[in-house]
């Protein structure tokens, strides 16, 4: 049952991101969250997401694959979007690109405490 619940929490988290509901996000993300081994905290996490949506107005998170084994979730996310200018130091300038992100989450007391994300930069480069 715990495992099913964690997948559900994660799916609700992704819905929250897609709705850009920056108040609700504290239900899913711990105050002391780490992103790629750096502690950025909830406010840093929120800022990162707000910046992403500002730079990529049509950003949408799609879960392609979800592997759950509490307290961990691994997710392969797919994106099909048009970053306005730069993304990952690449000049995109509004071009539509498709790419994936493979990301791991560690949960603590029902909230995300650690994230290890890798975005497929090579795939983006091959589209430019």
């Amino acid at each position: 049952m715990v495992k099913i619940a964690l997948s559900d929490v994660y799916r609700n988290y992704i819905t929250c991101l897609n709705q850009q509901d920056w108040l609700q996000i504290e239900q899913y993300v711990d105050n002391d969250v780490y992103y790629n081994d750096k502690q950025i905290g909830l406010s840093g996490y929120r800022k990162m997401l707000e910046r992403d949506f500002y730079n990529i107005p049509d950003l949408h998170f799609n879960i392609q694959l979800l592997v759950s084994d509490g307290p961990y979730i691994a997710s392969r996310l797919s994106f099909d979007c048009s970053p306005k200018e730069k993304f990952l130091d690449l000049n995109i300038n509004g071009k539509r690109i498709s790419f994936s992100e493979n990301v791991f989450y560690e949960f603590q007391k029902g909230k995300i405490i650690k994230v290890w994300s890798i975005i497929d930069k090579a795939a983006i480069e091959s589209q430019l």
Copy 2:
């Protein structure tokens, strides 16, 4: 029990890679294996790995995080190695680099049938 077995199969697969045991690998990888949505088959898979070890003589796979939920495995692998020349189109020329790979596997009848891998190219670039 099935879940535990799958993690064990995966750990044995990684040991097989680190031993460069290219005969044993057919115990773990399906004849019709796909790599990043392209069907490369067992022979293509073996060639890819042999090429990797040729280009990176000190290549070693380290499991940092393993999430198992049959028929899927998600693994975060870490590397600390010195590619001889180019790697991911970057000029490394023997420099020692550290990076991660976030990778998903789908198993079928106990063997890997699909792999979706992303290597952290941005992390490598930041070390050059």
